[in-house]
């Protein structure tokens, strides 16, 4: 098989890059209209749903895992407490929207700084606590979140065990021709039937709109983290991850970079929580247990530690695998008795172990290996230095 060779900086490479971006946008766009609420795949009499609400949920996980990438993937501080900040963000924006009628996106003005500061506060102990101990403390943090929510003091704000219900929807503005686009897509010959039937209901329009907005928000978060990682502080945190001592010797402030990366990670966790609750419409303490934090780690590792696209895959995996596992009701050779129950946790746990053995870089490293067989990107040629004028 011949390889396509592309050199960075040439127009062919630019086209290749833009083709990728356009393809991604196209997938997002099609997903929004095709998988609105009826999308499902049937394999062996099992229906696997691909509803848009699940994809939006996956986006919320992606942003939270993106935060973990910053602190665990790039700075090397294993934090098992991301669920705490996810939950905090979810409850804060639920409270502001439900009780103070704030628009969803305005809540970020409070959620982001609040989670950032909380993350900084937790980054401070992390300066002294390293490695495994940090994992322990942050796991404890994640474990206490549900009981904090049940506290009598917080009851007026969190609505205790019943969960905080928010019935404020993100409605598309009048000028948005979602309905028209949908009708247009349905008229396309051959593929039109995959885009549903007839006009969009209000509920569907609202789902599509929420999905678009959250996808844009997530894209902004990814762009910001990508800029951060390739900038000076990004190089600094990677140096901290690879060798703390030599980073310190090279003049990198360890405490500053570690606490800041905790802050950034926690802020992203909060944003993820806001997306989650905006989609789901209810924040309940049972969703934000330490299990969620462990699932985020699963997403981080399964996607690929220290990669941004890994966060996308990780988010999809932890949003869909448990759902699909529980909707698997028929498997030849497996008694029905064993398909009932927390099969999703089983698959994720086993998948985590298997991946650690066969593909330690996560799914994304496998994808990259496959891609490298087809496309080869060469670095831009370094301009040869002009003939050195050696003074004699």
């Amino acid at each position: 098989m011949g390889k396509f060779q592309l050199t960075k900086g040439t127009s062919a490479y630019t086209i290749y890059k833009w083709a990728g971006i356009v393809l991604l946008l196209l997938i997002v766009f099609i997903a929004a209209f095709a998988f609105n609420d009826t999308g499902k795949i049937s394999v062996l009499d099992n229906d696997y749903k691909i509803g848009l609400t699940r994809i939006t949920k996956a986006i919320s996980f992606m942003v939270a895992i993106l935060g973990l990438q910053v602190v665990a993937g790039f700075t090397g501080q294993l934090s098992l407490g991301q669920g705490f900040f996810f939950g905090t963000g979810a409850y804060m924006s639920a409270y502001l929207v439900a009780d103070h009628q704030w628009p969803w996106f305005l809540t970020l003005v409070v959620v982001v700084p609040a989670c950032f500061v909380m993350g900084l506060l937790f980054g401070i102990p992390a300066l002294k606590i390293k490695g495994l101990y940090l994992a322990l403390v942050t796991l404890g943090l994640a474990a206490i979140f549900p009981s904090l929510i049940l506290l009598d003091v917080l009851e007026p704000y969190t609505n205790g065990a019943a969960g905080k219900i928010v019935d404020s929807d993100l409605l598309p503005p009048e000028w948005m021709p979602l309905d028209g686009i949908s009708t247009g897509l349905q008229r396309i010959p051959l593929v039109g039937r995959y885009f549903g039937d007839g006009d969009l209901s209000n509920k569907q329009e609202q789902r599509i709109w929420t999905f678009f907005l959250m996808a844009i928000l997530a894209a902004i978060c990814f762009k910001m983290v990508s800029n951060l990682v390739s900038s000076r502080p990004g190089r600094a945190i990677r140096a901290v991850r690879d060798n703390e001592t030599s980073a310190a010797v090279n003049g990198i402030g360890l405490s500053y970079h570690k606490t800041m990366s905790f802050g950034v990670a926690s802020a992203l966790g909060g944003v993820g929580g806001m997306i989650y609750v905006a989609e789901l419409g209810i924040a309940s303490q049972g969703d934000f247990t330490q299990l969620l934090s462990i699932l985020f780690i699963v997403g981080l590792v399964v996607g690929g530690v220290g990669t941004l696209s890994g966060a996308v895959i990780g988010g999809l995996v932890i949003a869909f695998v448990p759902e699909w596992a529980s909707s698997t009701q028929n498997l030849p050779g497996v008694p029905e008795r064993w398909l009932d129950g927390p099969t999703g946790g089983f698959i994720l746990g086993i998948g985590l172990i298997v991946l650690t053995f066969v593909l330690p870089g996560g799914i994304i490293s496998g994808v990259r290996k496959l891609k490298a067989r087809v496309v080869q990107v060469l670095p831009a040629p370094i301009p040869l230095p002009e003939a050195a004028s050696v003074e004699t």
Partner: protein, 296 residues
């Protein structure tokens, strides 16, 4: 006064379980400086094995406990051989990921096989109250849990100090490379540590749910692990005696400090996390642990 004493007794019986689980964590940490995040789930699984042996196979209770401990030890040894040993013991990240994967998988298996409804556990100790001291009742359960941890601690001490494999285990935990050079088979020795830890954890859960006020269900050790971890950290992560004192101390904090400070009961877990945080911040080696020297 009677209420105070009563709370001390309650705290001691809770603490005994944390102490047993903490000892299991310490056994693995001593050898590999690894924390097994799945330790609580190992123990829960062992507890279910004991339950099945006792109720479905009709084995007498203590026989079932011993058999359950043996089975979980064998399972842990198999897991160590297949999933843990292939990795470099000095590189913690993949190992932590593996134990987290085990946590999810074992919890799910227990949920699939035994469902999530709580099950009553057969009596392990005589029920009822033993003594009345100044108005507080000291139940047989409390007395026997305390005896159990003393027996386990004694047994482990004998095992580590008087047997050949114990000697090898101590050598490996003190210096892995030198002991390898001295001809000790490091792999099987660590495997021994994992097996013992699983057996002790199983006993811990059996004792925990043998209380007339508790039942066995797959989530039983999810928060129990946090208590055990802070108990182990308080005592010093590499000290068995420290684990006992740490466990009892955490149990007492939970039952005394929490009500007297007016902290709501939901936050007893927070107390454990705060203890863990404070210990790691100000005395990372714990009360009885060996301080770790970091070399560059």
């Amino acid at each position: 006064m009677d209420l105070f004493l009563q709370r001390i007794f309650d705290g001691l019986s809770n603490g005994a379980t944390y102490a047993l689980l903490a000892m299991a964590l310490v056994m693995i940490f001593k050898a590999t400086t690894l924390i097994n995040f799945a330790q609580g789930e190992f123990a829960m699984f062992g507890g279910f094995i004991v339950l099945v042996l006792a109720t479905e196979q009709g084995i007498p209770m203590w026989g079932a406990v011993v058999l359950g401990m043996l089975i979980s030890a064998v399972l842990a040894a198999v897991i160590e051989r297949t999933l843990i040993r292939p990795f470099d013991p000095a590189d913690h990240l993949p190992l932590v990921i593996i134990t987290l994967g085990l946590f999810l998988a074992i919890n799910a298996i227990a949920g699939i096989v035994w469902r999530f409804d709580p099950r009553a556990f057969p009596e392990l100790f005589p029920s009822g109250k033993a003594f009345n001291i100044a108005g507080a009742t000291l139940s047989w359960y409390t007395i026997f849990t305390l005896i159990t941890i003393l027996v386990v601690a004694g047994g482990l001490t004998l095992l580590l100090n008087k047997t050949k494999i114990g000697l090898a285990f101590r050598a490996v935990s003190s210096n892995l490379e030198s002991s390898e050079l001295a001809g000790i088979k490091v792999g099987p020795t660590l495997q021994f540590g994992w097996a013992i830890a699983a057996a002790v954890g199983t006993l811990g859960v059996a004792v925990f749910v043998a209380s007339p006020f508790r039942q066995l269900e797959p989530q039983v050790m999810v928060t129990g692990l946090i208590f055990a971890v802070s108990a182990a950290a308080l005592g010093g992560l590499d000290s068995l005696g420290g684990a006992i004192l740490g466990g009892l101390a955490i149990g007492l904090v939970q039952s005394i400090a929490v009500p007297y400070l007016g902290v709501p009961t939901e936050l007893s877990l927070l107390a454990a996390v705060v203890v863990l945080l404070l210990v790691l911040l100000f005395k990372p080696s714990g009360l009885f642990g060996t301080p770790q020297v970091e070399r560059v």
